[in-house]
């Protein structure tokens, strides 16, 4: 592995984590929380051994836990600084990789930020370095899933106030990424997207949105003519495929089966 400490010899190495440290930071699992931890580690120049979400942490004999409360202000200032330092692209990748929720992503992100802080905008070009490549891959994975969902989400119109309702089950926590797109797409139209796996939903009145972790009660009741539109869509789908070109394998590689459950044209 390349030495990742001295990317730019003119700038002293920035350390967010330290292998020899005797304590760890526990955070609340939010991006803000993680940024708060990283900012604090840099500020006090006393890096922890690792940063872990409080709810998954298993006590060990070697590291004492330090709870760090998320601070919107610290996180905000730190991310603005990061943006100036390493550019918007790298900051966005940081966020995307974070919402992948991959176990151990905190450590990967800290290593990425350490390199980014000393290398600056050049970090986007340093793809041959392990810690950069790793984050690029995670971020790409999230981008792909997000982009697929922009198309694969299927709304049904509910009886109640013509509300649009959709269910998804993404691998990454992409709900917050989806909201702005659907607001742009359907201004003024209220909708709900429910993430079955995380049991979280996102609610919008067509202008603003918020995340909601209440499990919705009751079964959503469809509007009377909803079935008609669904049938029309199915009819369209059946007729648009060209039999002479049939290629199920290709189709399934582009639209993996895990998405089918919530796509009405694929329900027989």
């Amino acid at each position: 592995m390349p030495d990742r400490r001295n990317v730019n010899p003119d700038i002293p190495a920035f350390r967010i984590l330290d292998e020899n440290s005797s304590f760890i930071y526990l955070y609340d699992g939010s991006f803000e929380g993680l940024l708060t931890c990283a900012a604090r580690s840099l500020k006090f120049k006393s890096p922890p051994w690792d940063i872990l979400p409080g709810n998954t942490w298993q006590p060990d004999f070697f590291h004492s836990p330090v709870q760090v409360a998320p601070s919107a202000e610290t996180a905000g200032r730190f991310s603005a600084w990061l943006q100036r330092r390493m550019g918007m692209d790298a900051l966005v990748k940081t966020y995307y990789a974070f919402i992948s929720g991959r176990p151990g992503v905190e450590r990967m992100l800290c290593e990425y930020l350490e390199t980014g802080i000393s290398a600056g905008r050049r970090i986007d070009d340093m793809l041959s370095r392990e810690e950069v490549h790793r984050i690029e891959m995670l971020a790409m994975n999230v981008t792909r899933e997000y982009h697929k969902h922009l198309g694969f989400i299927r709304f049904a119109m509910l009886k109640n106030r013509d509300l649009l309702y959709a269910r998804i089950k993404p691998a990454n926590h992409i709900l917050p990424l989806l909201a702005p797109h659907f607001i742009d797409r359907l201004p003024g139209q209220p909708w709900i997207i429910y993430d079955e796996g995380r049991m979280l939903s996102i609610l919008s009145d067509g202008y603003r949105w918020f995340l909601n972790d209440q499990i919705p009660d009751g079964i959503p009741i469809l509007k009377d003519d909803e079935k008609t539109w669904q049938e029309l869509w199915k009819a369209f789908y059946r007729n648009i495929g060209i039999a002479e070109r049939e290629n199920q394998k290709l189709m399934q590689s582009l639209m993996p089966k895990r998405y089918w459950k919530n796509m009405i044209e694929l329900q027989m």
């Binding site: 793809l127 198309g151 369209f236 007729n239």
Partner: protein
């Protein structure tokens, strides 16, 4: 006939249009014709168009579905011999009213089934009458339904230029299909159509694009939805059927090159001929030449994004693409004297010509090598297809161990690597008979050396990805 039956017939008839029809334009929030329904006060016009096309589903043949692709009608007074809807054919006919189309589009859009509408039509009564109905339909969608999403409309061959312009004012993309790769074939198979009128429609659209905003709009009351709406903001495209007529690949690629240059087309779609009908003038195709179509798309990419010219790829001694391997590999094998090249020093343009290196990996190489010399291992990480690339490159002056030098051996290595799965698709309708490539006289050429970057839209048709 109920709407479901109509939809089945008119979607079925529209499916042979190859355009995969993703949107290629961003216009939301502050752009013109916004999703916020500029001027509507309450701001509840539906629609935004994302820069990179969104696929809402994939059909059983693996094509991206992003638009409601239908014919307005399949009642046709023309008799094109390659078409199911030709007047002499006995098929069930149907017709959508403007309102039916508008309702379908809105309701599908709202449920996130589609990104917009792709409206095409057979020729009802005459070209102008058909175009007027299409204009009426799209105007209804834009103004009465305040639909600001993506609309692609096909221009009807032989329609009045004024109507072509009107349609252009209302749509995001237009296409005038060239239909077949030569004037002679078109005259033979589609006697009511002709090259000059198709090319003049293209010129009208091209003209509208160039003079965006300079001419007064012929469409009244447009401030209602989209003040300052741009003329076909997503540009124009065209389509041709291949394999139904005897033109060779060299002829097709030369034509494509001319079309891109003259009309600044966004895309050309090549559609492997699917035998929907038999006729003595059509080549006896039993299986669509899908692999040939695939190679043409790859060659088309080489023209647009890799800096190749049609003449480099194909010439008199080599009039057709080798269907067994991608055209870049084939070109490289015929130019072994230019290889191997050193990854760490050659310019971007040369990187693009190495088999196994695509636009994206070439860019990544250029960026990463500023940060240090690259090795074979790094290249793999950057997404280079090493199985192909190793034969043509050196890293820090060294070749990868185990590469072959002998040209024949190399060819067979690459053939083996080339996707055998694809070869199983049959490829009829390959070049038979000679046709001389020729310039279409009305093309004025504007040399363009810019290397464009493929967007998501492009990738959807070139499914095997990087070459």
């Amino acid at each position: 006939m109920n709407i479901q039956q109509k939809l089945s017939i008119l979607a079925d008839s529209a499916k042979y249009d190859a355009a995969c029809t993703s949107s290629g334009v961003t216009r939301n929030r502050n752009g013109s014709g916004t999703g916020n329904g500029a001027g509507s006060g309450t701001g509840n016009g539906a629609g935004s168009t994302l820069a990179s096309g969104i696929c809402h589903s994939f059909s059983s043949d693996g094509r991206c579905i992003s638009l409601l692709k239908i014919l307005m009608t399949n009642i046709c007074c023309f008799d094109c011999k390659y078409c199911v809807n030709r007047s002499s054919n006995d098929v069930e006919r149907a017709f959508f009213t403007p309102m039916e189309i508008a309702e379908l589009t809105m309701n599908f859009y709202r449920r996130n089934y589609i990104e917009g509408l792709f409206l095409s039509s057979a020729v009802l009564k005459n070209p102008d009458y058909t175009m007027e109905l299409m204009v009426e339909t799209i105007r209804m969608l834009r103004f009465d339904y305040r639909f600001a999403g993506y609309i692609h409309a096909k221009s009807i061959p032989g329609a009045d230029p004024g109507l072509v312009r009107q349609l252009g004012e209302l749509t995001d993309r237009m296409s005038a299909n060239i239909e077949l790769p030569s004037k002679e074939s078109l005259a033979k198979l589609a006697p009511q159509k002709n090259y000059p009128s198709i090319l003049s429609s293209m010129a009208v659209i091209q003209n509208g694009i160039q003079n965006r905003g300079q001419l007064p709009s012929p469409v009244p009351v447009r401030s209602n939805v989209s003040s300052g709406r741009s003329f076909v903001p997503a540009g124009q495209s065209t389509q041709m059927v291949i394999g139904a007529t005897p033109e060779n690949d060299r002829h097709i690629m030369t034509l494509a090159e001319d079309l891109y240059r003259s009309f600044h087309l966004k895309r050309i779609f090549y559609s492997a001929y699917i035998p929907v009908t038999s006729h003595p003038d059509l080549l006896p195709v039993t299986v669509p030449p899908l692999l040939r179509e695939h190679r043409l798309y790859q060659a088309d990419w080489l023209l647009r994004f890799y800096g190749f010219t049609a003449r480099e790829l194909l010439d008199d001694s080599h009039p057709d693409l080798d269907i067994r391997m991608d055209p870049k590999c084939d070109w490289a094998l015929r130019h072994l004297d230019r290889f191997p090249v050193e990854i760490n020093t050659v310019p971007y343009e040369v990187l693009l010509r190495i088999p196994g290196i695509g636009v994206r990996s070439a860019q990544k190489i250029v960026r990463s090598r500023r940060e240090g010399l690259l090795d074979f291992e790094h290249l793999r990480k950057l997404g280079v297809v090493m199985k192909r690339a190793v034969f043509f490159i050196t890293c820090k002056g060294r070749k990868s161990p185990g590469t072959v030098e002998n040209a024949e051996l190399l060819r067979s290595c690459l053939l083996k690597e080339s996707d055998t799965r694809l070869v199983s698709l049959s490829t009829f309708g390959h070049s038979q008979g000679e046709m001389k490539p020729r310039q279409l006289s009305m093309f004025e050429s504007s040399p363009e050396n810019t290397i464009w970057l493929p967007g998501r839209e492009d990738r959807q048709k070139c499914l095997t990805g990087e070459m």
